[in-house]
Amino acid sequence: MTERISIVENILSANDRLAEENRARIDMAHVFSINLMASPGAGKTSLIEQTLPLLKDKMRIAVVDGDIATSLDADRAAAAGAQASIQVNTGGECHLDAVMLHGALNQLDLPQFDLLMVENVGNLVCPAEFRLGTHKSVLIASVPEGADKPYKYPGMYRGVDALIINKIDLLPYVNFDMDYFRRGVEALNPGVITFPLSCCTGEGMDAWINWLIENTKR
């Protein structure tokens, strides 16, 4: 006799449960945390490198770096002044998930820190699907990537809390239609806070730094 059992259980629920656990640990330690996502080469590590010197006298910062291989990024974060920098090698996985962040948190004495920056694997598709438990998701777009990215990666653009437009120093040299880009962003994620900046020249970094300080104080 066949019998039907009604279930309704989310297929990614195991990850989501662990993400909630991560969040509880981060909250308990009074740390503000961000999940930095972007395509490869958009400037995730550069942004961390430029951010650390501007904040390290004001707060204690831990960086968790996700990469498929190598500890190059964690080394760069440590050199730029992170009080702790943990490398997570995903062994081929194209994104960080809550389990991996959980493992990294085990290596940190969280109450020692004010800000936790998690650098996800360079990818505009998969990281959007896996919640980590961080407070804010931040996406870095960069001018040379082209203005069509919101249209092509809507899952990523609609889920983020803040958007950085990096490499604005290149605007005179590349064909980037800012209006078209912003229309796409606004359609997917109306009112999302946006920081146009250049990690190379430092232009626009102030607003980003202030946003981090304000959120960390909370």
Partner: protein, 113 residues
Amino acid sequence: MHELPITQSILKIALKHANEANAKRIENIHIVMGELSTNVDDSVQFYWDIIAKDTLAEGAKLHFRRVPAELQCMACFEKYHPNDDELLCPMCGSVGAKIIAGEEFYVEAIDID
């Protein structure tokens, strides 16, 4: 994108509920997949045949129910289906729609014996 871990997760959910009901075997698994969910049902089925072997779920059929995407404009409150190259509301041209449906991805039910 992550069909292997996802297939494992589906198997785990199905086996848990089947065991609780003292099932002898699982005949069907009903999965709901929104249009905006990026997973591919063909690949899930491919992995399924491999990983469900020697479990209660061996030979179970996977059924996917597709839910079309639906957006609601936050200016005129019209509901519409998004198309590929235009994200604006087709009625009033406003930006800023809310996703009402299309992101689902869950196991809805299993049929057991």
